[in-house]
Symmetry: C2
Subunit: 285 residues, 2 copies
């Protein structure tokens, strides 16, 4: 038996030889690409053992900050531009459909179902009252009735419900009307910092970056025959539109939040959903 | 103000522009390299949103498995060949010095200090009795007196003390004698699986890899004026020498564990320490 010793020059080839035994073709591809790029990174920065251990500790801390209410690895992915890159790769098609942007770490499946026009804000919540309305249409321009619309946002203090005690607030699920229309009341979105009391906050500070996101309202819109749309509406004029800590802004998603005579705000946006890819309909018998 | 929307083509440049603001030059270099290679990996595998989330969940689980006694991120680094790559980068110099290999996840700072010749094994521990001895010399061939020698190993059942209840066992700290000699009693190292009940074990199974390591004894040897040596001695003839799950075997570290007439084993190894790099002595006034 020839016992091999690996050198910096020969080690990567051996790791690749091992991960290429994966029976699943996609896993084989992902693992081989991961090993190649990870090793190239290490070869390029040539970490000392102490730096390597600092990296181990950073990843461990990031994992320890994750729980039911906080997803520090999503935040890391967001702040390193990885989440938006995955978004661009999957939804970069262009065309007439509404552009997507990232889901973020604050989506909650199972928000309260409210009737059209309801206020998603509980009384006493900080923030300026606001109405948002518009239509949901498909790629052929037809109104989409009964689309499931999830909306969520930070409150006037810049915090999401899951970042403080008091239960669900400033989030809801609606159905679009027979004419494809939707409408609800909320608070005008404000700019806020992403959670920066954990490892990702340390990384942002160490690299001289601001944790700020421009004010925005989250949407997730699902309807049969359409591709599910995950996106935001951003507030025109927000000072952080050009320095979003998670690179999520797209010009077409910036909306005027107009102040009415009664001092309340109103915004309108018409969403256009893409036709679902074949892959989804393959599930049907 | 020109609000930019980023595409798959332009996003990486913007993320790089942001991380290059880091005031610390080394951090700037590491972050820029990380972003370039991470984005190249994502661009190459083109993950679906579901695959991206699978990655987030894998990292989160790996973090949640880490505690005082288990370091799943080190295990991940070990099994992806990253730890050995860092070792090769830092200690790949060749020459007469003893070759290094990885620290592994089971080192404990503060093992019991024992006098020369002691048994590091508590009575009743599974395994075949064994004596290990030899000398510690410096790069000029002189015996190193008073070197601090940490040794640790899995017991005859393939488990380290920290993997089961019962306190510290099969690990100790010695000092080399005035003639540079060391000697202690232990159990003959056996091949064993790395911990594979967590996310790394899942990864190994999914890629069709065995979790096995060939039998080995860990050493960490520190002495003034010398580079600290982290290494193993491997058992000649072990069936896993050529398929170590963490790529740690080096030919020069394979040692005969000879069976004596009394049925006990004995191994000899003479260590040669490298002269400490300038960096270490810079600390002196």
């Amino acid at each position: 038996m020839a016992i091999r010793s690996f050198s910096e020059r020969t080690l990567t080839a051996e790791v690749l030889r091992r991960v290429r035994r994966a029976p699943d073709a996609r896993l084989r591809q992902v693992m081989a690409s991961l090993v190649r790029h990870l090793h190239r990174f290490v070869r390029e920065v040539r970490p000392t053992p102490e730096e390597w251990f600092q990296g181990i500790r950073f990843l461990t801390d990031t994992g320890h900050w994750c729980d039911d209410r906080r997803q520090e690895f999503i935040l890391l992915s967001d702040t390193l531009g990885v989440s938006m890159l995955v978004d661009c790769i999957n939804h970069g098609g262009g065309g007439a459909a509404t552009e997507s942007t990232l889901l973020g770490p604050f989506y909650v499946d199972g928000a309260p179902r409210l009737p059209m026009g309801s206020n998603i804000i509980r009384p006493g919540t900080p923030g300026a009252p606001c109405e948002v309305s518009g239509t949901i249409r498909n790629a052929r321009g037809r109104p989409v009735a009964g689309a499931r619309i999830d909306v969520w946002e930070a409150q006037g203090d810049g915090l999401y419900d899951v970042q403080k005690p008091g239960g669900l607030n400033a989030r809801a699920r609606f159905r679009s009307g027979p004419d494809g229309r939707y409408a609800f009341r909320c608070v005008r979105p404000v700019s806020y910092p992403v959670p920066h009391d954990g490892p990702v906050g340390k990384m942002l500070r160490a690299t001289g970056r601001l944790p700020m996101r421009p004010g925005h309202l989250h949407f997730r819109i699902a309807a049969p025959g359409c591709e599910t749309l995950v996106t935001h509406l951003f507030v025109r004029g927000d000072p952080y539109l050009d320095s979003d800590a998670v690179f999520g802004v797209k010009r077409s998603l910036i909306v005027e939040f107009r102040r009415n005579r009664n001092g309340e705000y109103a915004a309108r946006y018409d969403f256009v959903l893409r036709t679902a890819a074949k892959k989804t309909s393959r599930k049907k018998p």
